[in-house]
Structure formats: C-alpha cells, structure tokens
C-alpha cells in the first residue's frame, strides 16, 4: 500500500509553500513516475534527428531505453530498445543508420519500423511459434507527431495530445512558423547533462523572473548588461539588461507577463530586448518570410515568449532557440538534453548565431547554465537541513488572475508560475487532472 493518500499528498502543498518532502522523499518520486510522467505526453525529440530512411537515435526516456527510427516509407517509429528474445539492448550507438536492426546476441532481426523480421535457423522452434508470436519491438501505447515534434505516452488512457497541449500548441506553432518553410531542424546534435537535483527545481526555475539578477549577476558587465546571447557579430541584439547601475534591480522585469494553462504548463513573455529587428540579415529573413506567407509574415516572425514549459518535462526557449528535455532519474538526480533548433530556409547567419548562442549560454561551459545548475544543486543539498520544513513561494501570492479553465496570468517576479505547477502536481498525484 502507498504510504501517501490524498490527504497526506494535499498536506504537502500549501497556498504559498510546499513541504520539503516534495523534493527529497524517494517515495514521492516513485509515485510521480506512475502518476505524472506515465500519464503525460512525453517529448522524444524532433523528427529531423532521423532525416532519412534507416536513420535512428537511441535515447533514455524516464528510465526506459528507447529507439527512434525512420522507416523506408518515411514514417517515424518510437520503440523500446529491447530485443524481444532475451532482452538485450538492440542498438547502442547514440545515432546510426541501418537497413534493419539486428540483435548482436542471437541475431534476431527487426525492420526499421520495429516489426520482427525473423530469426536465424528458425527450424529449431516449434512450428508457427515465431510467426504466431508477438516478437515485434515493443512500442509505447501512444505516439504522435506534431509539426516535427515526436511525442509518446506510456499509458493508453492518456488524453489526446491536442487536449494535453491545449493553448500551448500555439507555442510550438510560434517556433515553427518563424521558419520560411514552416519547418524546424535539429542538425547540431545536443548537450547532455546530469545534475544532483530534483526535476521540479529546474521546472520552477525556468519561468522564474525573481532569480536572474542574483543568480546570473556574474554574466553581466559593469553597466548591468548581460553578454550578447543572440545576434550577428557586432550588433547589440540579445543583450539583456539584468541590472541597473550599481547592481540595483532593473524594474523593467516587473512588467513581464508570466502565465500558464491547465496540466501545469507555464510560460513567460519574451524579453523586450530579445533580438534586433534590423540589419541586412534580418532584411533577407523578412523577405523570405514575406515570400512565403505574404501579409501573415509579420505575425509569424513575431517572437511571443522567452520560454515555454510543457509540464512535466520539456521546454522551448525562443531566445536561444532550443528544446530542453528534462528526464527524472531519481529523487535527487535529473538528466537534461538541450537540442538547438534551426529555422529551415532562414539565412544561414541566423542559424550560426543561434548555435553560438546555445554554446555560450547552455553548453556544459555555458555561462547561464552553470549559474542555474549550481543553484538547483544548492537547493537539493540545503533542503536536507532540519529546522525549516517548508519551501516558500509566497511572492505576490493572490495577485495573479486565475480562470475556470485552469489558466493563470501574473507579472514579473511573482512566484505564481511555481504555485501553478504545484497545483497541477497535486491534481496529477490525486488523479484529478482535467481530461486525463
């Protein structure tokens, strides 16, 4: 029997605080895997990671070894990377190309869509055993593709992807629509991290406008401006003003909208200084967008958000142009992958700038990532301490507007984004989320 019932789960979540067990109890973590992650649509990656028939990538999703491939008919297949004979991992390279997958242990073979392709010397099996058996590579019960993003669900009872995403679908569209071809690409591989903090600490951080001026102070020059994250050499695009002179806060931040929707998704408005909308590269980009979309070009080029978090495990960051997939490993360990995104058909200079921006800010040596990760690990370590049992999220409590559909809107350094996630968490854990 579970040691947590609805009452004890609810007692962990206050209106302006959560109990530290939310982050440090291994029992909670086990329940989260069953009740949150297994009941959500999970992002596997982007279809351009396997551009051609026979291309495959291996990955870990939650604790599951997975395989994503493109079959000869062009279709994408996500499978468990486990031989249907005696369980060996079939593919071990991070990525590769295969006519068909052959398990190296006893030679069982599978087509690139996961269908069983046969066993060597089948005559020693009873008649009809192989043909009649279910020996395809197993697949998650649900798989969907939306504008190049590949999703699976580990529970067949999950609501459809459309209702799961809800209004957050626009956030995917906004990223994809900025390409003159209406397509994204992930041609540069990924960064991979493992760090010693609970998955929810990062989730609370990504829309937290209260932390940058402190956590990221070391990324600023004397005038309080952060190093250039986006834009071509020499221009001022993407220079974020974190602090006013003499390290006082830049009050501009308080005007930023932070908001969210049902299922725990949250997002924040783009930074006013996200990118420079002028110069020869921008003009070329604009022309290609006008050619592609005519009068709609302006609207499609608009960047609306800074980052958008799709609860419980992935996000899009628009300024740096990447997706981040956050994989919970244990109560105090999380793995991230960060995949830079290219706007297909946009000027090559824009891609180079985006890639460099990812290197500078979100690579293992990235000057932004290092600050955040250090803070998350500090929290996990600090929470072990006795004395205070509660983690406080009381900033601007009650100031956010909340509607009947489960959406909220708040401003600036409010901690409403985290409070929204806490509520969604409780719904999931008690099995009461809308549509699930």
């Amino acid at each position: 029997m579970d040691s947590y019932d609805q009452v004890s789960l609810s007692s962990l979540i206050g209106p302006d605080r959560v109990h530290k067990d939310y982050y440090i109890d291994p029992e909670i973590f086990k329940l989260e895997i069953d009740r949150i992650f297994s009941k959500s649509w999970l992002l596997v990656g982007h279809e351009s990671q396997v551009p051609n028939p026979g291309d495959y990538v291996t990955l870990t999703l939650l604790d599951q070894p997975m395989l994503m491939s493109r079959h000869r008919d062009g279709s994408i297949h996500v499978m468990f990377n486990r031989c249907s004979h005696r369980g060996a991992r079939v593919c071990t390279k991070p990525s590769g190309k295969a006519l068909r997958f052959e398990c190296p242990y006893h030679g069982w073979a599978f087509h690139t869509n996961g269908n069983h392709a046969g066993v060597p010397y089948p005559e020693r099996y009873a008649d009809g055993f192989i043909k009649g058996g279910d020996f395809d590579l197993a697949r998650p019960p649900k798989q969907e593709l939306y504008r190049g993003f590949v999703f699976v669900a580990f529970d067949s009872e999950v609501c459809d992807l459309d209702s799961f995403l809800g209004p957050m679908r626009d956030h995917i569209d906004n990223m994809v629509d900025r390409s003159p071809l209406g397509e994204l690409e992930a041609p540069a591989g990924m960064f991979r991290y493992r760090f010693a903090a609970n998955w929810k600490i990062q989730l609370e951080n990504l829309n937290d406008l209260y932390h940058p001026m402190f956590t990221h102070a070391s990324t600023t020059a004397e005038d309080g401006t952060q190093f250039r994250r986006q834009g071509a050499e020499g221009d001022e695009a993407g220079k974020v003003k974190l602090l006013e002179k003499h390290s006082s806060l830049n009050m501009q931040w308080e005007e930023q909208v932070i908001a969210g929707h049902a299922h725990g998704h949250t997002y924040m408005q783009r930074f006013p200084m996200d990118r420079e909308n002028q110069g020869p590269v921008y003009e070329r980009y604009k022309r290609s967008m006008v050619d592609a979309y005519g009068g709609d070009a302006e609207a499609k080029m608009m960047v609306h958000h800074h980052n958008s978090i799709f609860f419980p495990h992935w996000s899009i960051q628009y300024m740096t142009q990447h997706i981040r997939i956050m994989n919970p490993i244990s109560v105090d360990c999380t793995e991230n992958i960060i995949i830079p995104l290219k706007l297909k058909g946009a000027p090559e200079e824009m891609w180079k700038s985006a890639l460099r921006s990812n290197n500078n800010s979100h690579s293992p040596s990235g000057m932004v990532m290092a600050d955040d990760m250090d803070a998350w690990v500090r929290c996990q370590e600090g929470m072990q301490a006795n004395g205070h049992d509660w983690i406080v999220f009381a900033r601007s409590v009650g100031e956010e507007s909340i509607d009947n559909e489960g959406s909220f809107e708040g401003l600036g350094t409010s901690e409403a984004n985290a409070r929204h996630q806490h509520k969604a968490w409780l719904h999931y854990m008690c099995g009461t989320v809308q549509g699930v």
Binding site: A188, R194, A217, S218, P340, W351, N359, S363, P364, D371
Partner: protein, 157 residues
C-alpha cells in the same frame, strides 16, 4: 624549435592552473579562437554543438565572469591540474610562420569534494611573431567524452 614549443605549451597549462586567466588569453592572436567540439570528428564549429567555441571577445567575457565577485558557481573555486604530454610537431601542416602542434592532455579538476578528470587530444596552431614569440591562432581540444553526460565546466582545458 621543439623545446621552445614545449616550453610554450607547458607554460600555457601552468597559467590556467595558477588561475592567471588574463595572461592566458594574451597568448591568443587577435583573431585567435579556442574550440572544444561537442561531437567527435567535427570538421567545422557549425556542424555541431560546441562545449566551448570562443573568439577573443568571448574569452574575455568568460574571464570577466570568473573574476566577478558574485560568481556563486565558483565558491569555492575549481582547482585544476593540466597534464600535457605526447607533444609532436605536425609534419607537412606547417606553412611559413605557422606551426601545428599535437599533444595529449589530462585535466583533473576538484571542487566541493568532487574530483573529475577530462582527457583529450589537443591541437594548437601557433604563429611565430616578428618579435620571435609564439601566439595561438587556434587551440582545439577533442575530449574523449565530448558528447557524454556533463556537469558544468568553468575552467578551460
């Protein structure tokens, strides 16, 4: 010549270990860059992600950040020991005043009771200046775990 080149490369490693970062970046030519690819066998820095891909202005930003009084991820600072070996001059790649140098390196770092080690092949392209000094046109470090799982990195290899 090899002796002078060895001395240059050893000193470069020592500057990093002694946290003399400003002197370290002075070793680079104005158009020089420092590159640690994020994938094996990369041909150019735009083919794939990079762990570091820094021109001189970015290296300066990085050093400013390490010196910033509020860099909490360097409290306490990372200590490093760069061990450089297997130095060879790349035959045939040397044009005029440019010298390509191969080496192998292990950097061990220590912070907060955790010790980690990073190994890789290093290539330098050096230029002999009119004054008879070397300067770095580029330095490339190919880590054996370049596409592996990382925690964060602060001190260059």
């Amino acid at each position: 010549m090899i002796r002078e080149i060895e001395a240059f490369i050893y000193r470069e490693a020592r500057l990093l270990d002694e946290r003399r970062f400003e002197e370290w970046i002075e070793l680079f030519a104005p158009e020089g860059y420092y590159w640690v690819p994020g994938a094996p066998d990369q041909e150019d820095p735009y083919q794939s992600v990079s762990i570091f891909f820094d021109d001189l202005p970015l290296l300066k930003t990085r050093i400013q950040r390490i010196r910033h009084p509020k860099i909490h991820s360097q409290e306490p600072p990372t200590r490093t020991c760069h061990l450089v070996s297997n130095i060879e001059l790349a035959k045939g790649e040397n044009i005029d005043d440019q010298i390509a140098v191969f080496s192998a390196q292990i950097m061990t770092e220590f912070r907060l009771d955790k010790q980690r080690s990073y190994s890789g092949r290093v290539r330098h392209l050096l230029r002999l200046t009119a004054e008879g000094n070397f300067e770095i046109l580029w330095k490339r470090v190919d880590l054996i775990n370049c596409d592996g799982l990382f925690e964060t990195l602060t001190i260059p290899f």
